[in-house]
Symmetry: C2
Subunit: 441 residues, 2 copies
């Protein structure tokens, strides 16, 4: 018998490794932070002597979900401004609120709430773009999540820096500090081609390349952006990034709602990751991203929630269902974006787009143990005929029972392990009161 730490067992186990079918009565064996075996439970039980057995009957075992576009600390602005045009929302509400409230303390406290929300929803890795990411990183590690945390860069001053060079320099310092961390991948996040000029974007790319980091940016989100970048540079946004030498396989481009055909081919050729944020695009009326066409061309499309001030939640299970449904109607084809493809976007494709395809995104021998246990004995999850359709069209984030990240149980049967949920929520309630009182006066 081989010693191990965890035997994780379920009626179904989906490895999400390409070409592999769902295992019934499946199990994953974890030792330290790694998956050391995957297969039939009965066989593995005769081979391994695991300290802990988790999962069981009516349980579904899945790779942890990957949220590839967030502004996690914006959970504290959830619902502060809704049902309004994108630029009114951004310039009239969000940027002013950020200028008033943002601090390391705000971001730390808000990040706790965001991590709690994401772990509850089965997200084990997320890719963030915001400010005070150094403070954020401390919290993410305390909770025990995996994240690509991008230091925001703008051409104009904000609470976090005054000049483009100051943003870039502090981003480089931050990346140097966190590079090599087992859970945190530091990254640089120039906001967009409309909030960052070509010089800033090129400098950011240089930093990303130097440290083998992700460059995370918003790209081709709205028709306004396409027109604006056209006016400024005579090109559409993706083409513009290509032209200045920034479009690459270490770029994570959020949204891509308005790519032309040739821009989609560019995204595929450059192996750029595209974070599709379906609920945010719908709610802000940004449009329908041509996801089916991008996937057909081989673009690395994955899923993101965007910030909770635009969506208004951090729930990749909901995004999976929304994307799989929407793109059938948008393509006029009920066989488009099937359940299995949608689940891949939420798992392995997300990991690949973040440069973490060798570490997470699937349940495979040698990978880090980022694993979910879902309880399927629920009224809305019975009966079961097809496990993929079940996950994408019926499962809800509230069905996620336990969450393992990097070999550690971060949520145990519905309860966060390392921090008090009540304390996290009470902090949110106190901030809520402060922000509301000042807004009122």
């Amino acid at each position: 018998m081989i010693d191990a730490d965890y035997m994780i067992h379920g009626d179904y186990l989906l490895t999400m490794a390409d070409g592999e079918e769902p295992l019934t009565d499946g199990a994953a064996v974890v030792k330290g932070d790694k998956i050391i075996d995957v297969g039939n439970y009965t066989e593995l039980a005769t081979k391994y002597n695991a300290k802990h057995y988790i999962g069981g009957g009516f349980r579904l075992i899945l790779p942890g979900l990957i949220n590839t576009h967030t502004h996690a600390a914006m959970v504290y602005f959830r619902g502060i401004a809704d049902d309004m045009p994108f630029r009114d929302w951004l310039e009239g509400y969000i940027w002013p609120a950020e200028n008033r409230w943002l601090s390391a303390e705000f971001v730390s406290d808000a990040m706790e709430l965001a991590c709690l929300e994401m772990v509850r929803a089965g997200i084990t890795t997320f890719c963030d773009m915001y400010f005070f990411e150094d403070a954020a990183a401390v919290i993410v590690k305390e909770i025990g999540m995996r994240a690509v945390l991008g230091r925001g860069v703008l051409d104009f001053p904000s609470v976090s820096a005054k000049t483009p060079d100051e943003y870039i320099e502090s981003a480089e310092e931050y990346i140097k500090k966190w590079n090599g961390d087992e859970l945190i991948s530091p990254s640089i996040a120039p906001h967009s081609p409309y909030a960052c000029g070509p010089d800033t974007l090129k400098k950011a790319k240089k930093v990303a390349d130097k440290y083998n980091a992700i460059l995370h940016t918003h790209l081709s989100e709205t028709e306004w952006e396409v027109n604006e970048i056209g006016k400024r540079y005579g090109r559409s946004p993706i083409d513009h990034l290509e032209n200045i030498g920034v479009l690459d396989n270490n770029v994570l481009a959020a949204h891509c709602v308005w790519p032309s055909d040739s821009e989609m081919d560019l995204l595929a050729r450059r192996k750029t990751g595209v974070s599709h944020c379906v609920d945010s695009n719908l709610k802000l009326a940004s449009g329908f991203a041509p996801v089916v066409s991008m996937l057909d061309r081989g673009v690395k499309v994955c899923l993101g929630t965007d910030g909770a001030a635009s969506n208004n939640d951090l729930d990749i299970i909901a995004e999976m269902g929304a994307a799989a449904r929407l793109h059938k109607a948008a393509a006029g084809d009920p066989t488009a974006l099937n359940a299995k493809q949608a689940l891949r976007m939420a798992t392995l494709s997300g990991a690949e787009a973040l440069g973490l395809g060798d570490k997470t995104g699937s349940i495979e021998k040698g990978k880090q143990a980022d694993i979910l246990i879902v309880n399927m004995k629920k009224p809305h999850l019975l009966p079961i005929y097809d496990i993929f359709s079940h996950i994408v069209y019926s499962m809800r984030s509230s069905d996620v029972e336990s969450v393992m990240i990097n070999g550690e149980v971060v949520q145990d049967r519905g309860v966060l392990v390392k921090k008090s949920e009540d304390e996290i929520m009470d902090k949110a309630i106190r901030w809520n009161r402060r922000i509301k009182e000042e807004t009122r006066s």
Copy 2:
């Protein structure tokens, strides 16, 4: 002090009566099956002596949600056939499965699971179209839900009748039997203008009129239907119903994805209820119903889930969020279908479309007590700035804590009161096994 049965209290109470603002620290007082007062909790507490106090801090009080289009017993076929064209799904999988499995016993057992799922999700009233509705009605009453149950009518034979006249006669008998029941409104449900000829539709309308019942039908769901009805009758489907004298204010038309401008005006003029089933329309690629345009023209649009074999759940909270998001992008206007409008569609508009506007759909003095208590102390529901946006864009069905229908607590802090959830789920598991085994062999 006036005696009462329940004082239902929350930080927020939304009456959803037109023109009324959300109450903070609000309460509803219930005596017998009726709401006898609504207002500020502190004031009501000095006036009423209630046997039971329910709700409390961090609670939101809402009218029960209304699901205006279901085939509830189809929960037992949830996920049996997905990611395929509508007519393959209907004719290749659903109708054959129904012909093999449908019986009074199947419908009773499946209806239990459907009611459990709906109560959990805060649905207090639903409008069903299926077979063996007599057996279904018994279960719905046992659970304690309010429902409009429509006896299905087809032009071709099925397990439930052989000829159109046999369907119509048995529908009339069923309606006679249940008419006047306090929870069940019996109705007649000719499937669609493609599965029922003009004679059948006219006979069904006569029965509906005779008993003051709802005529529930599918209408203008797919582009195929528009073409098919055009070929057969030289008109589009809604126009066809008008032409044969069936379109009226006691008609509940599910889907209406493909109405022309003049057909939308017809729907408004005839005060026909339209059940918008956004998730089903997306998943089956039926198209984008012109909901914003219908609302602008004064059409009575409400929300439905459709059956769980097409959607794949019975969750009006999810439909509300999906509709409010989708129609912004479809209209290219982020202010379209705002959160308050979406919530009205899920409550009072639903009641009105079912002819139950004087009974349910809002929390008003004199109405039946159909009331939800939602727990808002959840990571994804903090902080709170705008209660409408919160409900539509952040709340999930798993946040519904307690459910009162007709003055009775049907779900008490997450637990169904009158039947065993485990027994309901175990029955579903046994049927699942039988259906899977036979399908395999």
